[in-house]
Amino acid sequence: MGYPYSHEKEVPILSKYFGDPEARTLDGWKARGGYQALKKALEMTPEQVIDTVKDSGLRGRGGAGFPTGLKWSFMPKDKTKAHYLLCNADESEPGTFKDRELLRWVPHLLIEGCAIAAYAMGAEHIYIYCRGEFFEATQVLGRAVEDAYEDGILGEDAMGSGQKIDLTVHVGAGAYICGEETGLMSSLEGRRGEPRVKPPFPAAVGAFGMPTTINNVETLCAVPPIIENGGEWYRQWGTEKSPGTKLFCVSGHVNRPGNYELPLGFPLKDLIHDVCGGIPEGRALKAVIPGGSSVPLLSAEECETCALSYEGVVEAGSMLGCASVIVMDESTDIVHQVMRMASFYAHESCGQCTPCREGTAWVTKILRRIEDGRGTEEDLDTLIELTDQMTGTTICVLSDSVSPPVQSSIAKFKDEYLALIRRGERMGVT
């Protein structure tokens, strides 16, 4: 069941109990078959758990799509140092709202997934780093964690297995950059939320200097069903390279925006026109951002053939990211939208690396000037060069994220820039 709307083409695995308040309670969750996967996992060896996840082909849902089982296997096996599992619930990519719903509706699914992952990696402590603005979600999750402790699911002797599994919910203070894994670690430790240089990678030196794995909420939520049903079962959905289901956050110009759980590889065209009920007032599609604000825009033609899998979106010329589909119809002023994205990055840059600190703000200023009708055609070349200079030169990829919207919009919607520059006309504004 999607939320707030649902559709028959959905495959509700994670979102099955969205909108069902009973599922939030421990008893309600158990009645729905909850914590069976954890029980099963605790009877397996950690290697078997990791192998099952590897078999499923589950890929990280935070945006990068890195194979989860492989990531887990990077954790050192020797236990001379404490191991940590961090759950990244600092969901802040513009257009993304899937983790919030998972936290709100199925907190026990997340706790279960975390506990399984912690067991598999020998992590003695789990931190769930929640976005500061997630007031309700944090409360729901906090209550669920308390219940799980009380019931002995978490704690010294998790489910009577003799394993110690501890979990702390940490609330951030509301900075986008704290969703970057090393920035999250810095923030968790009480420092400024500033990403760190890799190497060393978190699996070697992570939170508090200890081996650490960071997983997205949705990734960890996908783990219990996989453990319960096996890796092969999960592969019945999706494609060879992108198995399973994924929550798609659809926003913008569609009749029924919301979260939809669909098998990976689902056609973008159908998502917009069928699942989401098409574009309001019969207007024409102009562009789609398929994976959150850091990926290139797709033009209406590119959307026609795009399949929503990791590889399918790359083929169409963009990236799946965290599957935050922002739909823009013909009434959209692309230059303004790109300016808004750039100004978001300028606002959220941590300010460590020079290309990002200065570049994001500079790009925003140029876009604002173009929007005000005081741009020149050379500005477009400057924008492309600046975003090139900002790509691949910084500690994290926030700086790189400015380039896709700017460059793709200039490549695909140059007319709109030129209309502003030459005639002071905004296109698309109705």
Binding site: V197, A346, R357, E358, K365
Partner: protein, 535 residues
């Protein structure tokens, strides 16, 4: 250096076409530095941690998908590194352009101009013309307290200052506030750096004109200053410094790197005391007092008068010396005393509280607030007086022989000081009320005007060089004393500081065999098991 045997501790790699072998764990930046290639950098400082955030030191490493920060990337076997390939150069040009987006380009009124790394790097690799058409972000100026003034607009956000206070002083008084291009260095409290004891170093390590010294503000242009290697004279730590001079005045004191003594750092106390080297109340001609008459005269006549008076004296010598004078000068006193049949030499030194720099082991402002107490000790001189550096003069009060005073103007001396003495000889740099009635006032140079050595608390002999011209007829004390002894006993006195130091080696075993070449710029440890006494 290219090598055959790769030992497990060393790594061979190629940088810019040159094969080199360096110890394992060396960073690419250090390895390049070792072969004389300076990779531009801001946030890296050899004395601090490397956050790799300025993104200026990125270099191309074959096989790596992205450019890598050379300040944190360590060498790997058979790595092929290009520090100035087309890709690396283009990237640096781009990063430098970003640095100038909000920089005010106020070089004509900036104190850092001429020693500014932003100027240097942009001149080398920056774009010829800027593309910025947008209004610049403005922070303005902020008084950080102490001697530190902050020009926010010039800042390149390298955070060296923040890290210095965190890592070296263990006192996080500065921080980055805000984020993105609104981020700026700021203090937490109104007192700012007021209570810091080492904050002046943030001015030194600031690569641009963001942190400047209030004391030095608009006093001189960097390119007009002469730099002379010297030793700080404010305590017995013996920090290596450069004296920056112009028009025969010291304008500022900067630390000179010496890993065995002070690293890259000096304390604010020492830094602020350079002004004593510019004092105007100098003795500038030998003055001889005979009966009620004082007569200024040339050196030949003056020394003749001294020798006349001294010939045939007995009763020995009692001397008071200042431990701010060089080993050579103090050695001259020892020779003089011996030539006149022996006696006692005393020294007095003010004491303060020891103030360590926690992040750099072995560096502190020492208790003894004079540079050469150890040198005086090694000569067997006796410490008298109290922690204020006064008192103890009763040991000389009734002396009937010769009283010699070197450097110490005896502000606390009684009015009738030396009344019973056969002669009072004052070798001083500054006029002294107490010694106005001395039989001989002979002007000597300070350490800043002569060549010589100090021995620090740790037993390290360190050289300094003349930074200023000596006023009037003043001469080094070792020269005057040597000539006097020669006139009394025959032979030749030392003709150079080097010779004076060799003479010292004959007298004090700790210096035996040590030459000026050994000491040179980084010092030499004296011949004995050195015990750190902590003062």
């Amino acid at each position: 250096m290219a090598d055959n045997g790769q030992s497990p501790d060393s790594v061979s790699l190629t940088i810019d076409g040159n094969e080199i072998t360096v110890p394992q764990g060396t960073t690419l930046l250090q390895a390049a530095q070792g072969m004389g290639t300076e990779v531009p950098h801001y946030c890296y400082h050899p004395g601090l941690s490397s956050p790799a955030m300025c993104r200026l030191c990125l270099v191309e490493v074959e096989g790596a998908p992205k450019l890598l920060p050379s300040c944190t990337t360590t060498v790997a076997p058979d790595q092929v590194v290009h520090t100035s390939s087309e890709k690396a150069h283009r990237m640096r040009t781009g990063v430098l352009e970003f640095y100038l987006v909000n920089h005010p380009l106020d070089c004509p009124i900036c104190d850092q101009s001429g020693e500014c790394e932003l100027q240097d790097y942009v001149f080398e690799e920056g774009r010829e013309h800027g593309r910025g058409r947008e209004p610049k972000r403005v922070f303005g100026r902020d008084d950080f307290g102490g001697d530190v003034l902050f020009y926010g607009d010039r800042c390149v956000m390298c955070t060296r200052c923040v890290r210095f206070l965190n890592e070296m002083e263990n006192n996080p008084l500065l921080s980055v506030v805000e984020r993105g291009n609104r981020s700026v260095i700021d203090t937490f409290f109104d007192s700012g750096l007021e209570d810091a004891e080492w904050a002046g170093n943030v001015v030194d390590i600031c690569p641009v004109g963001a942190l400047v010294s209030k004391d030095f503000l608009h006093k001189a242009r960097a390119w007009d200053l002469d730099h002379t290697p010297s030793i700080c004279h404010s305590c017995s730590q013996g920090c290596n410094i450069d004296l920056h001079t112009r028009d025969n005045l010291v304008h500022r004191m900067k630390p000179r790197h010496n890993h065995s003594v002070n690293g890259h750092w000096i304390c604010d106390y020492g830094r602020g005391r350079y002004e004593s080297l510019n004092r105007g109340d100098r003795l500038d001609a030998p003055v001889v007092r005979d009966g009620g008459h004082t007569t200024a005269m040339g050196w030949n006549e003056a020394l003749e008068a001294v020798v006349d008076r001294l010939e045939g004296t007995d009763g020995g010598v009692k001397a008071v010396v200042s431990p701010s004078w060089s080993n050579e000068d103090l050695g001259g006193v020892a020779n003089f005393v011996a030539a006149l049949g022996g006696g006692d030499v005393f020294y007095r030194s003010a004491k303060g509280e020891e103030a360590p720099l926690p992040g750099f082991e072995g560096l502190a402002r020492r208790e003894d607030l004079a540079p050469n107490t150890r040198g005086a000790e090694l000569l067997g001189f006796e410490r008298v007086g109290d922690a204020a550096g006064s008192g103890g003069l009763e040991r000389l009060a009734d002396h009937k022989g010769v009283i010699l005073v070197l450097g110490d103007s005896l502000p606390d001396a009684p009015e009738d000081f030396g009344a019973a003495a056969k002669a009072v000889i004052y070798l001083g740099a500054h006029t002294s009320a107490a010694l106005g009635s001395a039989s001989f006032s002979l002007p000597v140079t300070t350490f800043a005007e002569q060549e010589g050595t100090f021995t620090n608390h740790d037993g390290r002999v360190q050289r300094f060089w003349p930074a200023l011209d000596a006023p009037g007829a003043s001469r080094p004390a070792w020269l005057i004393l040597g000539a006097t002894v020669a006139a009394l006993k025959g032979g030749d006195g030392p003709r150079s500081a080097d010779q004076a130091f060799q003479l010292l080696g004959q007298r004090v075993a700790a210096y035996e065999g040590i030459t000026y070449e050994d000491v040179n710029h980084s010092g030499a440890v004296i011949n004995e098991t050195v015990t750190v006494t902590g003062d």
